[in-house]
């Protein structure tokens, strides 16, 4: 058995930041199902919102975020996010992050959607990548123990207290127990629940689902962000920075159609609005080939595209055969981010004792019903740092929780038979097919536009898929690097989360932020100015209303 006071699951931005800050006072290890530098945080392009200079204010950042969230963000958490931003950005600067500079040598900033000021600190369009690698370098310097290619399988809970984790070691093909005082989940989102997503293959919501199974509360899972501009077909991310640097969206007639949807903010309206506008254009016959719209960067000039958007340029040339400095890029919306997650307080503490969460897997909640571009990267480092500090403090106070042989054996045995692997059984259902059906349902019926009847059908069909899943087994025999086994486990996580997302979407009979109901097109503050809490019940998710923190800004109509 391995023993670490604080176990961080996930080696992306939130996880590494949590580990670094916890390591100042406690023994820490990072567990990751891939190598930390391969985490999906690295794919983030646009930047980190933070108030850095004259003309901008923390107040303005708070208000933009509250408004962007369609008033469903917790304002106490948003205040923390915006107030601690500048300090964390400067800390990252001293750690070695190669920010792009302004002409005076300060950290350059660019506008992103829904912001009243250019406040995203960035490094070309590699912003997530460079911070991820810098944090990894610092983790090496600190000598933080990293367990790569180990997948969290189960939380070991004794008398309502998380006392450790059961993990699967991919290289050795065996289960291991890690004892801990505090577990921080920083496992990212569940993008792979959708057929069309910008997310990596590894974004399967493991931590959210495992926390939910262990009894923790998930919150606001029906709020799913669809990024307006992903490469048509491949759905690779085309950063909002492309519009931040001045890019236009055009329909088949060449019109900048955002004028009809957000006359002031135009292309830099928040993502929920822009994604809906694009689908509306396509629906009304103004899409190109009836399928997509154009992101036009041709007026920006080759130098700017090459210097500020080198990754976007490379991706467009390679995967769409289009040089964005010369031709418009075909784009369509696709799932991108999870506003919801494991419910936590402003220190990352979840409803389950000994369990914490940070980053995309958490719901603290700073994004509410819609996240602004540049706020998720900021969230990972601000709340990762806070979670690490809190975890170290808790570990200092807590004595080692009891972890009985019985609890370990019970968890181990229930997984052992699955992990032992078996030959392909006749008549077994196909994990691949179930996944394909589930992700198709999510994209078609639980997507940008939702309607009660379709959601009801989705809930029913997802329950059916889950029954079929229960009769499945992994197909490959026991072996090192058994990705078939991973696929099997990940589908289980995704199906649990799909049920919570679709169920929550059906229950919320209003439109707010990224959750848009054609049958309830208005925001309904009288009934729905509250979070959606979900807990696992015998027959599926059980939903309830959760209290919302409103400190300064009472809800107003949201126009851009």
């Amino acid at each position: 058995m391995l023993i670490h006071e604080v176990l961080v699951v996930g080696g992306g931005l939130a996880g590494l930041m949590a580990a670094l800050s916890a390591s100042e006072k406690a023994g820490v290890a990072v567990l990751s199902k891939i190598y930390p530098t391969r985490s999906h945080s690295g794919a983030a392009q646009g930047g980190f919102n933070s108030v850095m200079g004259e003309g901008d204010s923390i107040e303005a950042h708070i208000f933009d975020t509250v408004k962007g969230s369609d008033y469903l963000g917790d304002q106490d958490a948003i205040e923390v996010l915006c107030s601690e931003g500048p300090e964390v950005i400067l800390e990252l600067e001293r750690m070695g992050v190669p920010w792009t500079r302004d002409s005076a040598g300060g950290i350059a900033q660019r506008p992103l959607g829904g912001a009243s000021f250019p406040r995203a600190c960035f490094a070309a369009d590699f912003s997530g990548h460079v911070v991820l690698h810098t944090l990894y370098e610092r983790a090496l310097q600190r000598g933080i123990k990293i367990y790569p290619e180990r997948s969290l399988v189960d939380l070991l809970v004794e008398d309502g207290q998380v006392a450790g984790a059961l993990v699967y070691d991919l290289a050795r093909a065996k289960l291991e127990v890690i004892r801990s005082k505090v577990v921080i989940l920083a496992t990212g989102g569940y993008g792979r629940a959708f057929a069309k997503t910008t997310n990596a293959h590894s974004s399967t919501g493991d931590g959210m689902a495992i926390a939910y199974r262990a009894g923790a509360t998930l919150s606001d899972m029906e709020f799913v962000q669809f990024h307006p501009t992903t490469l048509y077909g491949a759905n690779l991310l085309v950063s909002e920075a492309a519009r931040g640097e001045g890019g236009y969206l055009r329909n088949a007639g060449g019109e900048r159609f955002m004028a009809g949807y957000a006359p002031q903010k135009m292309e830099l309206a928040p993502r929920d609005l822009v994604a809906r506008a694009i689908f509306q254009e396509i629906k009304e016959g103004r899409g190109i080939d009836g399928q997509y719209v154009h992101l036009d960067l041709t007026h920006l000039g080759e130098t700017l595209v090459a210097e500020r958007l080198p990754q976007v340029k490379d991706l467009a040339i390679r995967y769409a055969g289009v040089n964005p400095a010369k031709e418009p890029v075909p784009v369509e919306p696709a799932q991108h981010y999870s506003m919801g997650g494991i419910r936590t307080d402003i220190w990352g503490v979840s409803s389950l004792s000994g369990l914490m969460a940070a980053g995309e897997s958490a719901n603290v909640s700073v994004h509410g019903a819609n996240r602004l571009g540049g706020n998720s990267l900021l969230e990972t480092v601000v709340f990762g740092r806070r979670a690490g500090r809190k975890a170290a403090e808790l570990a200092g106070h807590l004595s080692w929780p009891v972890l009985s042989g019985e609890t370990i054996a019970c968890s181990r045995e229930s997984w052992e038979s699955i992990f032992a692997g078996k030959e392909q059984g006749a008549g077994d259902d196909d994990v691949f097919r179930i996944r394909q059906e589930a992700t198709g349902i999510m994209t078609r019926q639980v997507g940008v536009f939702r309607v009660g009847s379709e959601l009801e059908d989705a809930v029913k069909r997802l329950a059916g898929l889950k029954e079929r899943y229960k009769r499945c087994t992994p197909r490959a025999a026991k072996q090192p690097f058994n990705y078939d086994l991973m696929d099997y486990l990940e589908l289980g996580y995704l199906l649990d989360l799909c049920q919570v997302i679709a169920g929550g979407a059906l229950r919320r009979t209003e439109s707010r932020g990224a959750h848009y109901r054609l049958d309830y097109p208005q925001r309904d503050d009288r009934r729905w100015l509250c979070h959606t809490f979900a807990r696992r019940g015998e027959a599926g998710p059980e939903f309830s209303d959760g209290p919302l923190q409103i400190t300064r800004y009472t809800p107003q109509e949201r126009g851009y």
Partner: protein, 210 residues
């Protein structure tokens, strides 16, 4: 089009030595090699290869493609299938094969430690950096630690290629108190360094210029 992936297989628990297995998959020319590999995996769930981001930013899917190390996700089928429609995939050379296309990455990540792979921040750093100096960092900081350079290039001495990129990136950083002294610490002979910098852009999936 139909392509044949000729994949080097090895399971240490049952195989004495590696062997090749062919998979016929239907893909389009503009799809990626990773797309084709995922189809092969569907036929044979026991096939092992790493992958994650699909967009050449995570570095997971580095493999040897027709004898040349590269990233499967940024390799288009039409560029490697040739007239025969046959693509040979092997684990990265100079790495130890542990299962099919999966190689042991521990020595690779360990090798970074040879160069003090973090910024040794100057106490007197003002918080401002000359934009010209910062521009010099732009290329080397795009390194994704995929291991392709280590697989493809022979650099004599104790410092391996990816570690060298990291070391050079730190040496270029005006915030770093070791700065140019890093070149001495890395003990890379100037002529070796010169060749390395010359050859790196053609090898590196990110086209890093030293």
């Amino acid at each position: 089009m139909d392509v044949v992936l000729n994949i080097n297989r090895f399971n240490p628990e049952v195989d004495r030595e590696p062997y090749f297995q062919k998979y016929m998959v239907a893909v389009k020319g503009h799809q990626t090699l990773l797309d084709a590999m995922l189809r092969a995996w569907r036929q044979d769930p026991g096939l092992s290869f790493r992958r994650s981001c699909r967009s050449a930013i995570c570095g997971s899917c580095a493999v040897c493609i027709n004898g040349v190390p590269g990233l499967a996700c940024q390799t288009l089928i039409r560029n490697v299938a040739g007239d025969s429609g046959r693509i040979t995939l092997e684990p990265l050379p100079r790495f130890r094969q542990v299962k099919d296309l999966v190689v042991d990455l521990e020595p690779f990540f360990e090798s970074l430690k040879a160069v003090v792979p973090w910024l040794v921040t100057r106490e007197d750093y003002s918080g401002n950096m000359d934009p010209e100096a910062s521009r010099k960092l732009e290329s080397p900081v795009t390194c994704i630690l995929c291991g392709v350079c280590d697989a493809a290039m022979d650099v004599p001495g104790k410092v391996k290629p990816a570690a060298l990129v990291k070391g050079l990136r730190m040496a270029l950083d005006p915030r770093d108190s070791l700065g140019a002294a890093r070149l001495r610490l890395m003990e890379v002979p100037p002529e070796v360094l010169k060749l390395f910098i010359r050859d790196l852009p053609d090898t590196c999936p990110k086209g890093i210029k030293g």
